[in-house]
Symmetry: D3
């Protein structure tokens, strides 16, 4: 039933976002043969590496190196081979410039994703995540417009855009629209989460969240085999041939 | 890809609602081999037969007979063979009693639908539609509860519940969550709509709505073959194995 | 700082709701000397005892007896000594009659709670919970009105009304407005949850939820000692002397 | 510019609601020649006469007589000559029965209002007001339906329905959609408000509210002559020939 | 009844937006003697000229010339004689700079519109439209402030601001607040729409939309002569002397 | 009960905002011994000094001097001794640059407020207020992040952020979450408001608003001594030990 000829683009604001929020789904797509490309816009050196900065005389470069190495290791645990680090600065991310928008639009045109997974439209605690959401949407609009010439690319077509679940879902008005069973890759996700030494307190948290989404998934679907799940929003309604 | 072993239950507040709002989708499911059962809760004699009442000395019985005959004819144009008329009074529908709730719960338990399609949660112009929405939801909850004994039935499992698009979508806070291509059955829907002599002004309206939803479907999916479509809400998030 | 001269009224739709959703908070109030009264409107025989009904030849009376006994045991684990069972039927709860409204209003007038804790205003999966929310609010309005005579009572004053967190928070538009640290009573809550044999799958779920709310509480307050927490909505804004 | 051939129906849940919330607008319509009919569904004996009940040995009959007499006096201060008291019981109002719905529908059919002004769709503090909102809407739907025979009436056409501003606007999600200048009748409104002896604390409150709405009206329109105003919601969008 | 001494300012993000979304209303105002000025911020060369770019070796200049010529021709079909092209770049529009804000504020101060019609506050598919909405609002605030000196202008007063209906209304949370009958100018609108050769697929779409809004207008007003209509949002509530 | 060891940071977009919207609360905190620092980002010369500009040959410098002097005088009426004027330009405020963000973050790190009070998240009439809301939030995020080095500061911890009530509350979706009794400092607030000569029309307005909030406060709390109050939103849920 699953068509392996699918490209999935994941855009992660910081080095670990794609793991906590979509690691199980990414691993599942890869395991079944899809192409997944992950773009990490920043390493989260300033905003998402609090523990590393507790070390005396810590430097930006050292933190950056640690974060990149952890993110690469996590990626490999998930089976990801195609990952790019764009090394933008975080906290506060300024993404609203033409060069950055064109770079992302060009990537969309060349990779031609069927699905884009990135941050959703409100994170009440993290302004970077909101900036990434707007950035990816604007770039996706440039990508599908014939009149926007970008060297070496040709116009792509509309893709689906899914939003990550934020850390504190409820105060961010997060409402799940798609809940994906990740039981078969939960173990990989756990392994990937363990790569982030500076954020070890999040491992239990996201394990529990996957459990809780699994509980919701069973209740809503009646399918008892759904043990772990991840939730997403959809930017646009589902369009298709049959009720899903 | 389509599994014909699917049961679809459609609950229509009045005699024609299922045609205007879901006729194309129903016909498509039937054409591909699914089981579809339509329950018409009332004939809409009081509230949705304005033109018929313009005839002098009109009676409830005559209007009821005309409406039922038109609804049956429309059903046959859509390929529907399983349709029930429960003959409740409309305007204002009082559905909050135990006997009616149990009757619907029993039907859900015996028909065991994979999908239920009925009125959505707000129709700012028609209080009957809101009453039907609440009624079907409550009955679906009774149906899945082991502790609710109903003679001759056994507990069913959670089903998906989809909401019809109301007549004036925007003032009813309607936001499409699922848009279904009905190009291959649009002709059948048009034929079915023509059966309702007292509501002929709605035929053009719902033909245009199908066009407009087709336009949205093309824009959002990139699939140029989607000429006509119908839109629905989902009561619950989608739960499944893959992004849809 | 804590004033032990406080009355807290908890109204629980079914036999276990008050434990999953507010058990830690109740135990904490009791431990520090407040008066807490719990009213269980129904035993949840029909709607919240699925596992018990899996036993062949199960009867309403047996399930009711088991549920009441479990609820009493859980209450004692939380330190609750004042608990009433009103034995209304559940699924579907019909609470909109004068006698029931007056009974609750009379209780509010005699117990004179400073806080009422009950179901919040939307549970997309459980229509009983919504009925309880409306019922308690209406009764609280009768209770404070001089013109509503109820034998043996005198008019009370406005109380605060807090809403439980529903099971699937996000799809119910739940947004935490008050998060209460329950670290010192979490052990009691766990013991209480273990009393419900037919809902054992919920124990892990609500343990995780308490963890997750603890995580949110730490992040939002900066207080590292908050290990477990429960979240609530407020029906009305906070009114007081100082920013809280 | 003002067409005096207009009928305005005001439906007030209790004896004084129409004065606090729409008194200036009513007086203005009357002053300019429109027909205004006020229906007072209940006298608010139980729920809106707290001060009167402070008198020892107070009775329902005495309170009812006082409220009716005050309401009549207030009506005369506003220039109202057509006022009906339906004497339903309040707190809690049960309006969902066929006889009451038909009575209101019949009145709509015979009076044939161009505008209906009644309670809006959420009053977080007063469940009666919500009940009235639903009641008037349902009756208005019956009134326009050919198939709903009511002795001695003929079907009417769709009217505009406006919602009163509730007492605590902001917590009731009230958002003004129409703000009406009442500068020329403010004095009459003040006189009318003074008739309600048991609610004298509200006079200053609603005088200030009229000032504040006047301030908003000036700021939004640029018209400096708007000293006092009343705000309303609209159930349906404005439909017309020109932007307003 | 209609006062021809009215100035209407229309701000259109791209070359054709004002035609699809407000062409009938503009033509009607002009036909009855109002002054209408249209400002086209960009020609939509990059983002709204997809078909033109399908021609090999297409250039920005050629597309710009075609779009401007079509827009001028459409304007003349609507009776517009006062139209300005500001030639900003689109996709992605950067309007948040002082010179542009001052230019628009100066125009508002000199033209002194009674109504401004522009893009509404959310278009989920087109970030340019959202940028225009924010731009016009900010400029309108500068225009009415005494303390903002702009050479050759004097402070203006608050105007009404109306929002266009976006292409996919429902997913953009669009809720009609004003629906305007355009039956008498629908023919002109159709003629104007036909000028845009690269967007011919939109002509049928917006014809149907006008039909559908006409249907809504008839249903909500009871006026059977409303055949075609356009819908708008209002940024602020209506403020005036009488209920509208 | 009140702990005087509290730091409160107030960030005011213009010279008088902190007085109208939080003057009573500020005075109360000071009177009871808390440390309050007020930062005035701009003097509101361009956007909030309309009356001053009516004088012929008025200059930016004169208006700025008057506004600063009035603001200082008002501050002293409230008991404020710690006030900073950052003298940014208003209308339109551009705050999204690194230097400004770092300056505010540094201040948060050194003053270490327990509460921040600033503009809420939507003011439909004043784009500067929205800009300030976003600015303060972003700076607060930088302040608590270990990885954001700012000379001479050390990372602070999460604080509570409260939002001012905007001028036209209801159209700005303002919903009070915290209502603070200011009866004991209302006189000081009135004195402070009288310092702003160019905005004298606002004094009555905000006096009435304080009355109205006092009315709400009494109704919601049952405390009859609350005569005047101010309302705020909370950016985050309350987190604490007990229900409040």
């Amino acid at each position: 039933m699953f068509d392996p000829k699918q490209n999935v683009l994941v855009v992660s604001g910081h080095a670990a976002d794609y793991v906590w929020r979509a690691g199980g789904t990414i691993a599942k797509y890869l395991k079944h043969g899809a192409q997944v490309k992950v773009v990490v816009l920043s390493l989260g050196v300033r905003g998402e590496s609090n523990d590393l900065w507790n070390k005396p005389n810590q430097t930006y470069e050292t933190v950056a190196a640690i974060r990149k190495s952890e993110s690469l290791e996590a990626a490999s645990k998930l089976g990801i081979t195609d990952i790019e680090f764009w090394d933008y600065e975080d906290y506060y991310m300024a993404l609203d410039d033409e060069a950055k928008l064109n770079r992302m639009a060009a990537l969309i045109r060349t990779f031609r994703p069927h699905h884009i997974i990135t941050h959703g439209d409100l994170d009440l605690l993290n302004p970077d995540h909101d900036a990434v959401n707007a950035f990816v949407f604007k770039a996706s609009v440039l990508a599908i417009s014939n009149g926007v010439p970008i060297e070496g690319t040709k116009t792509s077509t509309q893709t689906r855009i899914f939003g990550f679940e934020p850390h504190q879902s409820e105060i961010c008005n997060f409402k799940p629209e798609v809940i994906i069973d990740i039981s078969e890759t939960m173990e990989m996700k756990v392994a990937a989460m363990h790569c982030f030494k500076a954020q070890s307190h999040l491992i239990e948290y996201y394990t529990q969240k996957a459990c809780m989404r699994g509980n919701h998934a069973r209740r809503l679907s009646g399918n008892k085999t759904y043990a772990y799940a991840e939730a997403f929003t959809r930017r646009f309604p589902y369009v298709g041939e049959w009720l899903v």
